[in-house]
């Protein structure tokens, strides 16, 4: 799977976004979006701000507020156009022909894509029961430029136990960056969230990537951020586009961070529905990975019948073949009514 490419002959399997099978928005369970959307106060803030959008807006104010919330300095933060933009910037600055990166296999695809686009070779390390194989990742990191480490991981939904992160980072050479992608961090119970800032103090080669797409329901606005040492952040900040996060997104993100109760409720609802769905999968004897995210990847027994039964109910899920998981399906944890339809579809397909 690994390959070396010079920048003029890059072969990348392009990213294909999750699709829909009906015009009912709640049925799109293919892209790990929030079932509840942004907080009503976010909608109001954005609507009210539209008349100001003839001005360019920098992310300085948002960055200052976020820094205070997180307990870091603004210079340790880079606000990005979706957390995916972090991947593009990090790869652009740190990779080139001849470089090597390490990902789990299957990877979260964007990290793999940006690495290849920038000419790097990708060393895939197979997941072990859905979990990152930290020993092998550390071993492969010895000559690598970057280890991409989403936790909880997509498409498995499984998180690295926080106590294992420190020892892992101790084994990665200081010359190799570790990008901890915490897009799903809010879905972890608080006691299993890594103390990311403490890790950062001890490991200047660590970058922490986060997203407001999932827990805050802002996927379409595209807002994420990167936390790192001031020196690391300065290098990335120097190459980003001047107004990389647009004004609407900045207004939305600012309001969303004030609406803590909304993201807490969003996460609580996901956890309720996920527990119901996983109990159903357990009862049906399915193979699946217990998830710490807003999606569950499982292996249906009759793939085609399952996809059809879901589609009949207006529900689109992500086919595992898009994700390096042939034969699996990844379903976003949607609203309670849609998750009932998912269970109903599985029963109809002879699965339940």
């Amino acid at each position: 799977m690994s390959q070396t490419a010079s920048t003029d002959e890059v072969t990348v399997r392009p990213y294909s976004p999750g699709g829909a099978v009906s015009d009912e928005p709640s049925g799109k369970l293919s892209s790990n979006e929030s079932a509840l959307g942004p907080a009503p106060a976010v909608v109001r803030a954005v609507r009210d701000a539209v008349p100001d959008f003839h001005h360019y807006r920098t992310s300085e104010e948002f960055r200052a507020g976020l820094a205070e919330d997180l307990g870091v300095t603004p210079e340790q933060l880079l606000i990005t156009n979706g957390s995916d933009e972090s991947c593009y910037l990090v790869a652009f600055v740190h990779l080139g022909a001849g470089a090597t990166v390490v990902t789990s296999d299957p990877p979260y695809r964007i990290d793999e894509i940006v690495s290849r686009i920038n000419g790097a070779a990708v060393v895939p390390v197979p997941l072990k029961d859905g979990a990152h194989d930290l020993d092998r990742l550390a071993a492969e990191a010895q000559d690598a430029a970057i280890v991409w480490l989403p936790t909880p991981h997509n498409p498995s939904g499984i998180a690295v136990p926080p106590a294992r992160l420190g020892p892992f980072l101790d084994r990665v050479p200081a010359t190799c960056l570790v990008v901890l992608d915490e897009a799903y961090r809010p879905f972890l119970p608080p006691e299993r969230r890594p103390d990311a800032l403490e890790l950062l103090r001890r490991h200047p080669n660590l970058l922490i990537q986060r997203s407001l797409s999932k827990s805050h329901g802002l996927a379409g606005f595209r807002v994420g951020y990167l936390i790192g040492s001031a020196a690391q952040i300065a290098r990335l900040d120097a190459v980003r586009a001047p107004f990389n996060v647009n004004a609407a997104a900045l207004v939305a993100a600012g309001a969303a961070l004030r609406e803590r109760g909304w993201s807490d409720y969003t996460v609580a609802r996901v956890r309720d529905e996920r527990a119901r769905f996983e109990a159903f999968l357990d009862a049906g004897g399915f193979t699946y990975w217990p998830s710490d995210t807003n999606f569950v990847s499982f292996r249906p027994r009759d793939h085609e019948a399952t996809v059809d039964a879901l589609a009949k109910r207006g529900i689109a899920v992500r086919d595992g073949s898009d994700l390096g998981l042939d034969g699996w399906l990844r379903v976003t944890v949607g609203s309670a009514p849609r998750m009932l339809l998912v269970r109903e579809a599985l029963i109809e397909a002879g699965e339940g």
Binding site: L36, Y265, A336, P337, L340
Partner: protein, 327 residues
């Protein structure tokens, strides 16, 4: 025809069974139920047996579904998507001759006639309202309780600045959501001991108190009593400020103690609010235009077979905000 239905027996046990439903004659329509909502008043019936006119009963008056058979004079065609009006006017009194919305002998779907906790329900055309294309059924089914919230807030005479909602069950939560939509600059406090229900109140931006008896020194110009615990109305009146409006919404037989002097000196308007009048079409329109506002109240959805045990759980220990069933 015989259709799967929940049956509530006189001893207040609810089981899954079958019942006979006539085909539609006259202007009646047979509706295949896609979603039905459990209401606080259903729980009241399940505890007490009140209002039921014929046993076994099939409750359920929050209904979204599709017309599958239509009588010769029906106002709907097969395939139309509808929500049902929960109210059953007597159509036999003086008022009904003028406007059945105000019938004094009104009864409710599921109590005086078989309701929506079944695969099919038969109703006259006047009891059905079309749902615009593009509105999801699981959103549309909230129209009936939302009409109750609309009706309650229709009693306000001005914009409240400080509101208190006692109880964040389905009706309290929908009233809260509607308060935010109509009066975005008002502050809202909520009294709700149940953590899940309180979490939604917080998500919507409310200050949450664990008990209606301990909401602090603040006085409110609107207090909505949607909890129904013993002395809830007493707490509501105590929290009401000068010239406040107190809306009594909860269906409860628990008594409250009110000092008339508090009402008199505070010149408080205390209003009992029951169901709704003409608000159902407005509620459907509101859901059609901003369904995202209302979706967060739905916290659980079950199949018809899962419904009786889920309801039993709710009776023991209410956990859901809005529980939907898909028959």
């Amino acid at each position: 025809m015989r259709v799967p239905a929940t049956l509530l027996e006189r001893d207040l046990t609810m089981t899954l069974g079958e019942r006979e439903i006539d085909g539609p004659t006259g202007d009646a329509v047979l509706v295949k139920v896609e979603w039905a909502g459990l209401c606080g008043s259903d729980l009241h019936v399940l505890r007490s047996g009140v209002w039921v006119e014929e046993w076994p009963a099939t409750l359920g008056h929050e209904v979204f579904g599709e017309v599958v058979e239509a009588g010769p004079d029906a106002a709907f065609a097969v395939g139309d998507r509808v929500v049902l009006d929960s109210r059953v006017p007597c159509l036999d009194c003086e008022q009904c001759e003028k406007d059945p919305d105000f019938c004094p002998n009104i009864t409710f779907l599921g109590e005086s006639r078989p309701g929506g906790f079944a695969t099919h329900v038969l109703v006259p055309s006047r009891s059905a309202h079309a749902v615009p294309a593009g509105v999801q059924g699981e959103d549309a089914v909230l129209a009936e309780p939302l009409a109750v919230a609309f009706h309650a807030l229709g009693h306000l005479e001005g914009a409240p600045r400080r509101a208190l909602v006692l109880g964040h069950g389905p009706i309290g939560a929908l009233i809260h959501i509607e308060l935010r939509r109509r009066f975005p600059d008002a502050t809202v406090a909520v009294a709700e001991p149940n953590p899940r229900r309180a979490a939604l109140a917080e998500a919507l931006g409310a200050t949450v108190h664990e008990s209606g008896a301990a909401t602090g020194a603040e006085r409110y110009d609107l207090v909505v009593e949607a909890a129904g615990y013993p002395n809830a109305l007493g707490d509501a009146v105590k929290a009401a400020g000068e010239r406040a409006t107190v809306l009594a919404v909860a269906i409860s037989e628990a008594e409250s103690r009110i000092r008339p002097l508090d009402l008199v000196e505070g010149r408080i308007r205390l209003i009992g609010v029951n169901a709704f009048l003409t608000e159902l079409p407005e509620a459907i329109a509101a859901i059609a235009s901003e369904p995202w506002r209302y979706r967060p109240v739905v916290t659980r959805a079950v199949s018809l077979a899962e419904f009786p045990p889920a309801v039993a759980e709710e009776l023991r220990d209410p956990q859901a905000i809005k529980l939907l069933v898909r028959p």
